[in-house]
């Protein structure tokens, strides 16, 4: 399983990010950043990223049933496309390792079931998510109408998340009908304060670009937050003295802290 595959080892070459990924549609994003924040770049260069190197981005993927959430994850994580539909039970879990500006980071994707009967448990899976991805089927209007509710539910339990609205199955539309749908979807995205993307898991169009964008925004945002405040990144439970989460760079970071200064 994927979780076995990703336990230990270096970051694969196709997960190295050195440039800031751009939005899919410049007019349909609340995130106007086009580059990493100078503070972030400097911190990475000087290798004083503290705990960010040991940090994870938690992303939850939600949306109506059978719109292709799992397919999108499988295209990105395993580069496969499965025609047969298989409903997700509860939640599927994937981890991808990245290197962003030479800092190792990981992206957790919690791919939730769209079915009604799993809605009641969703809250615990959304908890603490830094990224919320609401997906809909570009060929299925009702699934777009439901995105508002999905976004509300997910954000209620997440921690000021970065928001995305992703249309799937782009390959099934003619350019003309796509343009139609896009207009409507962009409206929704604006209302949700989310960034809009259109993808095809079958052809792979925009799938990798999308996840890279997720990672860039999440990384920039997390590191900025880390640089500005001191925030415990992990919780230790149980009864051991050995705090294995500490890295050397963290010690350095500690010394730097003290009275807050604005640079």
């Amino acid at each position: 399983m994927s979780s076995t595959r990703t336990v230990i080892g270096a970051v694969p070459s196709d997960r190295v990010i050195t440039k800031f990924s751009q939005a899919f549609h410049p007019d349909a994003t609340p995130y106007q950043k086009v580059n990493f924040h100078p503070k972030v770049k400097a911190a990475c260069q000087e290798n004083r990223t503290g705990r960010v190197g040991l940090k994870i981005t938690k992303a939850v993927l939600v949306g109506d049933v059978s719109i292709g959430k799992t397919c999108m994850v499988n295209r990105f994580c395993h580069d496969v496309f499965e025609r047969e539909y298989k409903a997700t039970i509860g939640v599927d879990f994937e981890v991808e390792k990245f290197s962003v500006l030479s800092i190792p980071v990981t992206l957790q994707v919690w791919d939730t079931a769209g079915q009604e009967r799993f809605k009641c448990i969703a809250a615990s899976y959304y908890r603490g998510a830094q990224v919320v991805i609401v997906a809909f089927d570009l060929t299925d209007q009702p699934s777009l109408h439901h995105v508002t509710k999905w976004m509300e539910d997910a954000c209620a339990n997440a921690d000021e998340p970065i928001k995305f609205l992703v249309g799937t199955k782009k390959d099934l539309l003619s350019p003309a009908s796509y343009a139609e749908v896009e207009k409507l979807a962009v409206k929704y995205a604006k209302r949700l304060e989310a960034e809009f993307w259109a993808t095809s898991s079958k052809t792979g169009e925009n799938v990798q670009d999308f996840f890279f964008r997720v990672m860039c925004l999440a990384f920039d945002c997390a590191l900025l937050r880390e640089l500005d405040t001191e925030k415990p990144a992990s919780k230790q439970i149980g009864n051991d003295l050995i705090h294995i989460q500490r890295s050397q760079s963290d010690l350095y970071e500690k010394k730097k802290r003290g009275p807050k200064c604005c640079t």
């Binding site: 399983m1 979780s3 994870i56 981890v95 009641c120 009702p142 992990s234 009864n239 003295l241």
Partner: protein, 591 residues
Amino acid sequence: MDDPSQNQTHNHINGNGDWPHTMNQIFNEDESHFKSNAILPWDQFSNWIHCACVVTFDLELGQAMELIYPGHIKLTDKEKMNICYLSFPDSNSGCMGDTQFHFRIRQCPGKRPLSRSHSQYNKDCPVSLQLDDAHYYGFVYFRQTKDRTVRRGYFQKSVVLITKLPCVALFNQVISIIAPEYFDNGEPSLEAACHDIDQWPSPVPGDTLNLPIMGTVLQVRVPCRSDKLIGSVQSKSETLHSLPVHTVLPSLHEVDIYSAFLSILPHVQLLWELVLIGEPIVVMASSPTTTCLTVQALVNMIAPLKFCSDFRPYFTIHDSEFKEYTTKTQAPPPVILGVTNPFFAKTLQHWPHIIRIGDMGSIGGSPKLSNKVKKAAALKTLDSNPGVYTRYKSFLTKDKMILKRLMKGAQLKRPVEAQNAILRRHLLELTQSFMIPLERYMASLMPLQRNISPYKGPPKLRPFDSEKFLESVEHSGPQLTSGIKGDWESLYRRFFRSPNFEGWYHQRQREVNQKLQILHLEALSNANLSEWIADKEEVEIVDLILKIKDKLSFAMHHHHIVGKESVSRLQKQLEDIVLTLPHDLQSVIKT
């Protein structure tokens, strides 16, 4: 809108338990499940957990099994009955709110072979963490709240995880995540949690695993037999490469032994002796949470040695082994029981060693210690003060230093984690001081390398002679590594009669004989056999062929420890020898 997923889900789970329908379906599942190395759905799940159960209180039936998940898992009626009774507190002590504990039951009917993944785990994990093919653990989360809508006035229900893995710390954590979700949101949360577990990587000793569960990820390292016991837990490089997660579990299996023994700290060394020599011990307390912590701490005391008798962290009068274990017609069995029902004070009053633990509430404060060991008879007066009730005289003199250190730590409000580490280390050193002379003697029983001849059978380990061993103790015994004085010899004599010695000895014997088999196989594969058979009778050659075939089948079963080159060399040797035989005989040999 018609939900196309409805049909599809039925392939995965079917609450009615008639899953899976056909073999055909299983294979279809398999093909579409491209992400997974698992052969079948639920394979990964069953590496960790046998099933999850919900036990409720039914006014007419008493405790009743409400749900078993996944639905295709079968439990026998006896297993179900035991799980039902053990999933609820046994006494009227009024466990209001949430209570967590665990139990251990016999699997029936008796032993079933372990799965491949479990056998592999057993080969590489520390022996004290091996799962055994005859028992299940049950991890319970019990909730009792006032509820006017129920006729009895109370809501009482337990969520239980049934597993063979003795990963106490992990499963206590997991059940504390799953159960409250279940109480809030019902069955789908159990379904989702089980699906999360079905995505867990296998428990491979030495690996640091990331285990997603209900929106969070637990990180835990599975200990390995080759781990260094004293010193760093984990190498630095390994730490750096592991995935960052929300929650790091410091241990898969260790419990808070310091808190468990807090009220009886002065007797820890005496208890160590009792556990080592496999004496019957009963732990009495008012809550199952306390008994299971204490019993588990006792069993862990002699690590890395495996505790080889039965133990029941929580045992009730309804247990199917109740009669067997409480009979007065025979001496008490060498088991450790944790009980809460006051009835046991009478039933087990003839037991030689009784530990009473008071409320665990006072943890953190300076412990009130009962320094005196009380006579077991005193218990008849229903003395319920915490303490150790026994007539046993320890063989070793008490190490007062460790006690002083711990007491001082308690005064200084040293963190429980640190107190635990000190106590654990002390016990480990004690156990190792005791075992090192035995290990050394065992090594001296190995035949010499030059006695391994390809033309004879593999040499065997020489028999264990306890008197010879005890002679060696005089000059190279535990006194070399431990400052503790006392009658080590008598302690060894008692140990030799215990299941723990038997278990250790068989384990070593198996390992040594396996090693000898491998050395012999290598000798055989390197020997010049064609020269040797030149002047031999046909019957001797056939005999040699059979021996080689035997070896090759051994190599098949132990492929992970036998060198591939030796095997292929031996294979070649076999083919060459067969070719020297007459044709008719060749065909007979080949079949």
